[in-house]
Structure formats: structure tokens, C-alpha cells
Amino acid sequence: MGKTLFEKIWDAHIVVEKENSPSLIYIDRHLVHEVTSPQAFDGLRMNNRSVRRPDLTIATMDHNVPTNNRSLPILDQTSAVQIQTLEKNCKDFGIQLFDINSPNQGIVHVIGPQLGITLPGSTIVCGDSHTSTHGAFGALAFGIGTSEVEHVLASQTLWLEKPKPFEIRVEGKRKNPHAVTAKDIILSIIKNIGTSGGNGTVIEYKGEGISDLSMEQRMTICNMSIEAGARAGLIAPDEKTFEYLRGRKYTPKNYESLVDYWRDNLKTDNDATFEKNYTLHVDNIAPQVSWGTNPGMTCDVTESVPFPEDFSKGDQNQKKGAEKALEYMALKPGTPITEIKIDRVFIGSCTNARLDDLIEASKVVKGKKLSSHVRAMVVPGSQMVKKQAEELGLDKIFTDANFEWREAGCSMCLGMNPDILSPGERCASTSNRNFEGRQGTGGRTHLVSPVMAAAAAMEGHFVDVREMDLN
């Protein structure tokens, strides 16, 4: 019987395997950031261990770095300590670090692919759940906790229970690919299969609706696999993948021979079987807006805030969850999504802060001014994205419209750096989580695509971007 792509990568990385127990899996790349690593390095020191493969370990700082002027000292003392701790740990253990002043600094899931660290067929881990992003390149990539970070630092391996393969087919052609984006595809999928629909699985995305996407858009899809509960997302590499990685800073010297191998081997066999299947048809999907406090609580921009009993379809816990969510979000059932007024706009995060995202958003903004009651910021995913965007003049388009143009980092995706919402503020955000308090205590998050966020910024409320000229 044939194998799925996931099974092929898994099998190629088994160090120890026994029946009915987890396997010891070799890890090809380990990405490290300041928040989930300090205890892991402490653990190494306590036990007199070294990092087994510093050459396969790469660090950056992203979660709590301020995104304003980088020449100023970091005011928040605890953040400053966490950043200095990472610097010291990388120095002590011989790990390459892209620090706050490096031109390669950025969100760990943005810089990995940009630097050619992310490679097809490899295993990649990071102490961060959105490591699933790298699956867009046909890598098996997933988030781990701090104890596991320590285990990988010490041994370059990990004990893992084998997830089950889940096939999601995305079929059809979007009528307006500028207005209906990869973000809308993945939000639609999560809305349909639920936030635990992918639990215990690795999702392989297939079909015309996926091969049509650029690498950056594929990353948006794989990035949010974790929001469906999956361990990882995976897309078989194709010519777009190989082209994207060609000539990057860390792309291996024997790249072309690797490509030949990948082309022949990194795909699911025709007779392979999946544990689960789901198909989304994208011909007619609308831009998506989340209304609740998890990414599954999402609807079309043309719909209204749902009634909890309709949303829950008879499930009591779901109903209670929806009621709580509406209370937290201060939304009334039946309110048209397009009538929801917003205070803030955040274009950023590892889901949607790549060059493509900023280009698309800038089309909505160009030559106009921000709605007077909205504060909006654009936070490029990496310093490299920022530089490329500036070369295209995007910074000017955004600042002319009164957006803030900031330095790279996680920023307002999570409330652990100075960029946060005030209690009660409502934000259209291109990030991936709308959990209570995620963007700051009491803040209210609506997840949308970059074009939807930009349009909301200009109008002061959500609008259906299919009605705009985006070409």
C-alpha cells in the first residue's frame, strides 16, 4: 500500500521505533525564540549538557521585542532580561542568533523560509505552536513545549506518538482571488471542521485551490492548521516551492540535486489512504470575519452575528461558549457583520505579515486616509520584509494614509509587548487567535485577511472587499 507524504517524512526520520509506543524522531532544524527557551537552557546547564547540534539550531527574538524605534533601550525590564538571557544562552551554547539589530531578525516563522532554513522533507520544531507554518514547504513542522525544547537541544531528537494523516482537499477556483484570500480559505476550513477537528492529525492540503496559491499564501494556510487542532499542516512541494527557496542565504549548495530528489519523492502515493478527509469548494466562498473568541467562531462578511442556539446546533457546551463569546465581544446576535465598528487595525503576525500580504493590503489603502476614529498599524513579519516593502514604497502608502509603520516582531498578535489593545477596544486583526485577552486584557479581536483589515481601517467598519476594485 502506498504512503502519504507525512508517512514518508516520518519514516525517514525514525531513530527508534517499537510497536505500540512512540518513536524517537530525528529533528533537522530547531528554531528558538526568547519566550519558550530560557528554562530549557537552564535545564541543560543544571545537568551539564551541551547543545548536540548547534549548527542545526537557529534563534531569533520576536515575541516581546518592541516594534518602535530600535535605537532606544527596551523599557520593560522583564522583556529586556528575557532578551539578554537569549543572547547569553546563544553565546554560551554556540547558537546562531538573529538579534534585535540583525537585518535577518523577525518572527521565527517568517524568517525560516526567507533564509532558506526551511527545507522540503525535513523535520522542524520550535517552542511555538505556529511552527506548522513551515509545512507549506513540505516539511514536517510542529510546535513543542519547553521540556521538549530542552530534549531537542540536548539530543536533536524527540519522542513522538505518530499522528494520523488527514486529507483536506481545496477544490475549485476563487472568482476574485484578491478579495478572497488564503486566510479566508483556512478560516472557512476551521469554521467547518471546528477547532478540534484536526486533533491528533497532520493535515495534508491538496487540490487546485492549494496549487493555485503562492508560497506566502500557502504559509497562511499551514500556519493556522494548529487552530484546527492539528499537529501540523503539510503541502507537497512543487516548482513554486523550489523556486522560492532557490538562492536564499542558507539554501544548501547541492540544492539542484536535492530538488531532483524532492520532485520524485515528496508526494503522497496515489494508493495511500488517509484516516480522515474533508473537501472545501472555494468557487463561491466569501471573505471571512470571526465574531467570537476562538477561530472556529467565524462567518461570512455578508452574514450576521449568529444566535447561540443556531451556532451550537443543539450542543450545550457550544451554546454556552457562544453566549460567553458574544458577551465578551459585546455583540448582539443578528447584527450584520458590516455594521460592526472597529477601533483598531493590526496588519501583522506570522499568519499575514509577508510581502504579498502587505502588497495586497496597500491596494486598498493607496491614496486614501484612515477612518478618523481608527488607529491602525502595519508590522512587517521580518526586517527583510520591511526592507523589501520599503523598496516598493509601501511604507509611504501606509503612512500617507495615517497608518503606523513599525519594526518587525509579533507585536499585537499577543499581548506580551508594548503593542496591546486597551480593555474594550475592538480590533480587525490579520493574526491567528481571537482568544479572550489575546491582544491585551479585555481587547476584542476579529480575525480577517489583510485586505479585509485594510478596508475596515479605511471605512471604520467591516466591508465586503469583493465590492472594491483590487486589481
Partner: protein, 161 residues
């Protein structure tokens, strides 16, 4: 293992509400514990006692991979979380660091057990006794490997045979 229940009747309790992002900078576990569950239940700290259990619905611990989540719960006294299901990273974090036991329960236990009930959990027989209501429920047994890691006292103490 005996303790009282703090019940949250909902699904998808995420790690952002278990320990909000602004505390991920905190290195001191005792201080971290002061902010456990703050995003959902600001009174948690004043009501939790050493040895308590949390009871909740499906997909407990979804979201961010922060190990701070089981650490904060564990250091505030929680010995086990009983839920209909768990998100994988939280589950592994809880077990790997020997912070607390993630126990999967069935619908009957979930609906029957109330806030404040005293439970006696016996993982050798996979039974949960409700001492307050004089009832017994089954818990889902740990897989072999998870059982071994728990027995060893965490991932780093576990030696495969």
C-alpha cells in the same frame, strides 16, 4: 489522590486565558501561579487550594504551546485537570514536566461532577470516586508511554526500556 473540583463548563479553554501573554516574561513560578486562569476567572487565585482539580469540557489547553500554562496551574496547587479532551501540546507539556495529570473523562463524569465536589482519583484502577455524591466514574486510561513518563516523573527521568 484526593481534592476538590473547580468546574469550568465550557470547551476550548485556551492557554492564553490559562496564563495571559503578558506573564510569559515571568521566570518565577510562584509569581506565575498568582496569574493562573486570570484571563477567564480573575478569582481563581483566591479560590484554588493545594490539591484541587479543574474540570472542563473539550479541547482543554488549545492554542499557544506555552509550558507556562501547566506550570502556572501546577504551582497554584492544581494536581489534575479532568476534561472531555485535551489539545495535544498542553497534554504533553503537563506530562513531560510532571506538572499535573491530564485526565480524560467521559460525558457522565463531566455532567455529574459539580463545583466543590470532593474526588478521589485512582490512576492504577482508572477510577474516579466522587466522595460528595458517592458515585464512581471511569477515566480513560493513559497510553502505555504516557503512563511510563508519568511514573518516571517526567520526560527527562523517563528511560525507554
Amino acid at each position: 489522590m484526593k481534592g476538590n473540583v473547580i468546574k469550568y463548563e465550557r470547551d476550548n479553554i485556551d492557554t492564553d486565558v490559562i496564563i495571559p501573554g503578558q506573564y510569559l516574561k515571568v521566570h518565577d513560578y510562584a509569581e506565575l501561579a498568582l496569574h493562573a486562569m486570570e484571563g477567564l476567572d480573575p478569582d481563581f487565585h483566591s479560590k484554588v487550594k493545594e490539591g484541587d482539580f479543574i474540570l472542563s469540557g473539550r479541547n482543554f489547553g488549545c492554542g499557544s504551546s506555552r509550558e507556562h500554562a501547566p506550570i502556572a496551574l501546577s504551582h497554584s496547587g492544581i494536581k489534575a485537570v479532568l476534561a472531555l479532551s485535551f489539545a495535544r501540546i498542553f497534554y504533553r507539556n503537563a506530562v513531560d514536566g510532571a506538572f499535573l495529570l491530564p485526565i480524560e473523562i467521559e460525558e457522565d463524569a463531566y455532567s455529574n461532577i459539580s463545583e466543590g465536589d470532593e474526588l478521589d482519583i485512582d490512576i492504577s484502577s482508572n477510577e474516579i470516586k466522587n466522595l460528595t455524591k458517592n458515585k464512581t466514574y471511569k477515566m480513560k486510561p493513559f497510553s502505555e508511554i504516557i503512563g511510563k513518563i508519568i511514573e518516571a516523573g517526567g520526560l527527562f527521568k523517563y528511560k525507554p526500556d
